[in-house]
Amino acid sequence: MSVTCELWFAFSWILDQLPKLCPVNRVTDLSVLKEQFESPNLRNPKGRSDLPGIDVFVSTADPEKEPPLVTANTILSILAVDYPVEKVACYLSDDGGALLTFEALAETASFARIWVPFCRKHNIEPRNPEAYFGQKRDFLKNKVRLDFVRERKRVKREYDEFKVRINSLPESIRRRSNAYNAHEELRVKKKQMETGASEPVKVPKATWMSDGSHWPGTWASAEPDHSRGDHAGIIQVFRHLKYHILVHVFIKIIVHVFSYTKSNE
């Protein structure tokens, strides 16, 4: 028994140690990269960036377990990254299909209008507002621009408001949906009275978007076609307009290809 154990331990120890035989350390030189890809030359007279594009994928699955504020902060840190702007594209994959995540992202896109220029102007590190404002060290260190203090105060205030807006989102979505649903129910009843139909028509408890249309993803109360693991595909490109004005250019194409039974769950 003991011998087997010893042998196995020796074996696993060898397995563990062998890969450690040739360690290396690497260092990067960012200035060379800059010189090679971002300095003006014959073929590229304007000195536009010649760096290849990077798509950043962020994955989230459940706004309950992964709070939207955390995701929003991650997105902000990506939007503010030091890389040619036109080469970066940020994709958030929401596997839960939750309106909460969607609206939190809309708020994030609008807050980024102020956060990202602030980061660029004052070389903020880290570019995650929660981490930045939570830092315990002296934030004035190495800062030389005179308007920094005033602008930091403003951005901080703006961030606090942003946080509160994110926190209030679940409540506001619920209230909005309730209002729309009540309205819808009234309308259906009225129609029923007019036509004189006797059988009660069930109005689905939908989750509504702020522009007064049904959210194509999952709903608060699981309805067919809108429950977890059963919803349409959604893609939304956020257009960064002026701060606080957000245009919902919403393209929803619901793909029904197969005849799918409504008897789920």
Binding site: L33, D95, E151, G233
Partner: protein, 589 residues
């Protein structure tokens, strides 16, 4: 409509209604897209791997960046230059063989003493950096810049085959032969449908719908991504042709509704039907630890990867800090490893393009949970020897002691070397060791059981069932979560080990004290090993106790008393066989 940002910087104005003065500050923002793939009950959505593959396809159509950074939602960019650092490797000489650049995972919000080795520094600063000297580190699921073509399942432009014993014989392969096309000289803008994708481009294009599904824009985007991911022409290595300088300094095409509609069709749930997505292309399905498998497949094709440790952490994230979640995390990893061991991804079956030592490393990934079985035996052994009064070895000879001393010193030196080289602290190393034992006796063993049952009997069981205890909301305590204890099956083996060892020590001490010829050396030996086991389990015990100061001292007194009484009883009732008869006669006349 929905245009991605302009190529030229846009500067803000100093007018009053802006909150900050943005004169001379670029106010453009990167493109931001919300994607939620279609899900239907009739289709397996393959969890995170499925979501990532959906993203790979949408992004191919919408922005088609030749490189992809993958982050978890709680993993943010801590160093804003991180992307540039990663690109340094990708665009450097030889960078065309790199499939991904992995950054170390760093965590914050962990208790200062790092009780459950959450930082995992030994893994991220020793093992991964060591792997970097071979073919490259493993992919750990987040904080990694991929080359898009590597994700698509293509082979690297050059690869080395390692044949013979220990991979000594090396054969260089040029998978993409350089083809000099006269067009290339004056091509400045990005060429769509250029056919220098692979040397057998015709076969590839025939296979495309079968491999990638039948989206034509997705198929068209593949050569573009390959072309854009190349090195510059003057940097090109043997066997590839680079792209001319300045070829990417062109504005991107604006998005239109048709593109977005196309992007929607590739995230529909049936798109992957009868394609190789999840099998050879993209993130690989069917494993709990899809990340390791995905990285393994790339290394298997001969790609290399790079570990990029930046002076200022590139990314930071949060980690589960309470014991139960941590154990479950370890269980998930270990289960994944066992799965890998019993699947076709076992490193023994790797292709000759994988280096020998890299193969050993991957083999280790698949094997390490099995050590737990022997570990458990070793944890009970000292206690058993104390109970029975016999030492692990029959006689303590000089040669044995010298041998033991030699081994111990070598191990210590190795550990010191690792610590010195990687810059981790002894504390980190010790915590890691402790958690290795805790995880080894609980989570790893459970994973092996799970895996074996699944493979041999086809029974799927899960140890992750937990009954959630109601936890009081305590906003004042930063680490309130740390003290949360949720009961789980995983906690049984370590508790048993602890009890048995504690009782064993007590028994041993009691017996030696009552015996007429106390063999103190034997006792010290036994107690030392037992104590050694208990030392490792200390964080576990502390975690089990819950909140600091909540357990009154009387509990400790009681438990101490109980164990002494039990051990005394043991000695009285079941007199150790090693002691002599006259001792018994003397005690009970």
């Amino acid at each position: 409509m929905l245009a991605p940002p302009n190529a030229e910087p846009e500067f803000g104005a100093a007018d009053g209604d802006n909150l900050i003065d943005t004169t001379d500050v670029d106010i453009r923002l990167p493109m931001l897209v919300y994607v939620s793939r279609e899900k239907r009950p009739a289709y397996d959505h393959n969890k995170k791997a499925g979501a990532m593959n959906a993203l790979v396809r949408t992004s191919a159509i919408m922005s088609n960046g030749p490189f992809i950074l993958n982050l978890d939602c709680d993993h943010y960019i801590y160093n804003s230059l991180a992307l540039r650092e990663g690109m340094c490797f990708m665009l450097d000489r030889g960078g065309d063989r790199i499939c991904y650049v992995q950054f170390p995972q760093r965590f914050e919000g962990i208790d200062p003493s790092d009780r459950y080795a959450n930082h995992n520094t030994v893994f991220f600063d020793v093992s991964m950096r060591a792997l970097d000297g071979l073919q490259g580190p493993m992919y750990v699921g987040t904080g990694c810049i991929f080359r898009r073509t590597a994700l698509y399942g293509f082979s690297p432009p050059r690869a080395t085959e390692h044949r013979g014993w220990f991979g000594r014989r090396k054969i260089k392969l040029f998978l993409r032969k350089p083809k000099v096309s006269k067009k290339e000289e004056d091509e400045v803008s990005v060429q769509i449908n250029s056919d220098h994708n692979d040397d057998d481009a015709d076969i590839e294009s025939l296979l495309l719908p079968k491999r990638f599904g039948n989206s034509t824009s997705l198929a068209a985007s593949i050569p573009v991504a390959e072309y854009q991911g190349r090195l510059l022409q003057d940097l090109q290595g043997k066997g590839t042709h680079g792209r001319p300088v300045g070829s990417l300094a062109v504005p991107r095409e604006p998005l239109d509704a048709a593109t977005v509609a196309e992007a929607i069709t590739v995230i529909s749930c049936f798109y992957e039907d009868k394609t190789e997505w999840g099998k050879r292309v993209g993130w690989i399905y069917g494993s709990v630890t899809e990340d390791v498998v995905t990285g393994y497949r790339m290394h298997n094709r001969g790609w290399r990867s790079v570990y990029c440790v930046t002076k200022r952490d590139a990314f930071r994230g949060s980690a589960p800090i309470n014991l139960t979640d941590r154990l479950h995390q370890v269980l998930r990893w270990a289960t994944g490893s066992v799965e890998i061991f019993f699947s076709g991804n076992n490193a023994l079956l790797a292709s000759p393009r994988m280096k020998f030592l890299q193969r050993v490393a991957y083999l280790n990934v698949g094997m390490y949970p099995f050590t737990s079985m022997f570990l458990i035996v070793y944890c009970f052994l000292p206690a058993m020897s104390l109970f029975s009064g016999q030492f692990i070895v029959q006689t303590l000879s000089v040669t044995f002691l010298v041998f033991l001393l030699g081994i111990t010193i070598t191990l210590c030196l190795l550990a010191l070397l690792e610590i010195k080289w990687s810059g981790i602290t002894l504390h980190d190393w010790w915590r890691n060791e402790q958690f290795w034992l805790i995880g080894g006796t609980s989570a790893h063993a459970a994973a092996v059981l799970q895996g074996l049952l699944k493979v041999i009997a086809g029974v799927e069981i899960s140890f992750t069932l937990t009954s959630k205890s109601a936890t009081p909301d305590n906003e004042d305590d930063e680490f309130a979560e740390l003290y949360e204890v949720k009961w789980s099956f995983l906690m049984i083996p370590p508790i048993t080990i602890m009890m048995v060892n504690a009782i064993g020590i007590a028994v041993g001490v009691a017996r030696t004290m009552y015996s007429p010829f106390p063999q103190w050396s034997k006792l010290v030996g036994g107690v030392f090993f037992s104590f050694w086991v208990l030392c490792h389990l200390y964080p576990f015990a502390k975690g089990l106790m819950g909140r600091r100061g909540k357990i009154p001292t009387i509990i400790y007194v009681w438990s101490g008393l109980l164990s002494i009484i039990i051990s005394l009883l043991w000695v009285y009732i079941n007199p150790p066989s090693g002691t002599t008869e006259d001792y018994m006669n003397f005690k009970f006349p």
